[in-house]
Amino acid sequence: MSSEWPLWEVFVRARNGLAHKHVGSVHAADARMAIEAARDTYTRRLEGVSLWVVPSAAIAASDPGEADVLFDPAADKIYRHPTFYSIPEHIKNI
């Protein structure tokens, strides 16, 4: 039966002000039921204040075979990291 229901990717916002974060996926017949299933599966222990679900089929992914070409060139470009700034102590999320 599970093969008849599409897969949905679930994103949870842990607190207001933070971005939604991918947490997993659920099977559901439509978007509204996907929200219900995501609520029951991923927010049972106060994990979030907001939910997104996205049809898994709608996600375009990079090709793992191209990982070298896409990501390796960034490895030796340390100047792209904003590590030379000091962050004030009272800033919690950046």
Binding site: M1, S2, W5, V26, H27, A28, A29, D30, R32, M33, E36, A37, D40, T41, R44
Partner: protein, 250 residues
Amino acid sequence: MDNALYDYALRLGDDSLVLGQRLSEWCGHAPMLEIDLSLANVALDLIGQSAHFLKLAGETEGKGRDADALAFHRDVLDFRNCLLVEQPNGDFAQTIARQFLFSNWQELLFRELTRSKQATIAAVAAKAVKEVAYHARLANEWMVRLGDGTAESHARAVNGLDWMWRFVDELFAADVELEQLISAGIAPDMRGIRDEWDLRIGRVLEDASLGIPKPRRAAMGGRAGHHSEHLGHLLAEMQFLPRAYPGATW
């Protein structure tokens, strides 16, 4: 009055306990993992509510019985739940039909109970009404999808509703014990809420392309301990361990 309150706390607690136990029978057997989890969540919410109500019942009775003693060491004739909640799960549609009728009623009941003059009942209801609003929403969504789904899901939804419908009138009935609590402002008079419930149920059934089931002779008696054969089997499973091994811990 204490007697009536004891009895009422049992009714509230037993409704939630018995339905929670029923739903937990799906655990590991539901058609999909997602459904398994959502039914188990509802079951846990209900069992949590029952612990509060049965604790109150034990304190009101004043014989030193706690929630566990009342849940696990009471015989079937002493249970005060409505007949609806003890009905067998059947297929998924029958389970959802039962939840649909019950949760919509329980949400209205708890909404009224938040204004109860009995402080513990009002506090438990205030916390639980949000849980139950979700149970009703979940059941409503499923009723629509089953009723408005395939020919088979529609037929199963019709059968499930047909099974459960004769137990509805009991939810709104009042007897002598309940009348006392209604006059004292402790319990709401659910007869006054029936129209609102009918409206809610009718709206969902219309969305679901399902008709209101034909009226049937109402089955009642749960509030007085006259139960269907199904409750005894449920209790036998639920109570086996604490009775076979009194005081067992883990």
